[in-house]
């Protein structure tokens, strides 16, 4: 069984800042369940000039109480693939869980582009797909939970990004006024 989720959001920050915030978004006060973030692979494709990155993210406490029996460990490993094209100013990311995939597989795509109406703003499109193969009536419940959780986590990650973006802006302002000389 499969369920879909789609969402579009606009950040009132330019594309450069938003894509930098993507790398800096953990830790932030809205995602305390993120335990670790590591870069597994990263290179610039010499043919396209696109930056490709693979990160491994460890999260704690990903299921509600009634779902705990489904998993031996309450932690989840997430893989995040991304590509950044500075020429077309496009960033595409894919995150999916690699543990507990038998219980529920969540795939989330995000596309970051310069907002067509205001070039100082950034448009983010989120598309997600949830698949689960459990029987016993659990599938519906889990997928329903997955959709709710996705909507929640999308809202949370937006807040987290905004928090990081505000920090970036402050830092840039300070540096612009000569208060800071290095990063």
């Amino acid at each position: 069984m499969v369920k879909f989720f789609q969402h579009t959001f606009k950040y009132e920050y330019n594309w450069d800042s938003v894509t930098l915030a993507f790398w800096l978004r953990y830790p932030n006060p809205f995602t305390s369940h993120v335990e670790s973030v590591d870069v597994i692979d990263r290179y610039v494709d010499p043919n396209t000039g696109v930056l490709r990155t693979t990160r491994l993210i460890l999260k704690r406490g990903v299921l509600p109480k009634w779902g705990k029996g489904l998993m031996k460990t309450p932690e989840a490993y997430i893989i995040e693939e991304s590509m950044v094209n500075p020429k077309t100013q496009t960033m595409i990311t894919l995150t999916k869980n690699i543990t507990h995939a038998r219980v529920m597989q969540v795939e989330e795509w995000q596309t970051y582009r310069v907002d067509s109406n205001n070039h100082e703003f950034t448009q983010v499109k989120t598309e997600a797909r949830i698949i689960s193969n459990l029987g016993w009536g659990l599938t519906d419940r889990l997928e329903g939970f997955g959709i709710k959780k996705l909507a929640d986590s999308t809202a949370k990650s937006r807040k987290g990004m905004s928090h990081v973006l505000e920090m970036i802006r402050e830092k840039q302002l300070l540096r612009g006024r000569g208060f800071l000389t290095s990063t």
């Binding site: 993120v34 973030v37 490993y77 990063t183």
Partner: protein, 76 residues
């Protein structure tokens, strides 16, 4: 800054992340695609891959990365 999966990799991660963030905002986004921070990355990466192996998720990782998501679903 976020933590590494391996506590022993935290210092290497911090050094690498700092280098990358600077390169990303000051070079890459401005059109200078020449890589930097590679030596730091290799050291940090070796440490992380070791931690991944110890936690026995190395096989899962390989399995999850078998297909290139951006070429198999081009246009997404």
């Amino acid at each position: 800054m976020s933590q590494s999966i391996g506590a022993q990799c935290n210092d290497l991660k911090k050094e690498y992340d700092t280098c990358f963030n600077k390169w990303y905002s000051e070079k890459f986004l401005k059109g200078d695609l020449r890589p930097e921070c590679e030596e730091l990355f290799e050291k940090y990466r070796a440490c992380v891959l070791n931690a991944v192996k110890q936690k026995q998720i190395d096989k899962l990782l390989v399995e999850a990365r078998k297909d290139d998501p951006f070429t198999s679903t081009s246009g997404k």
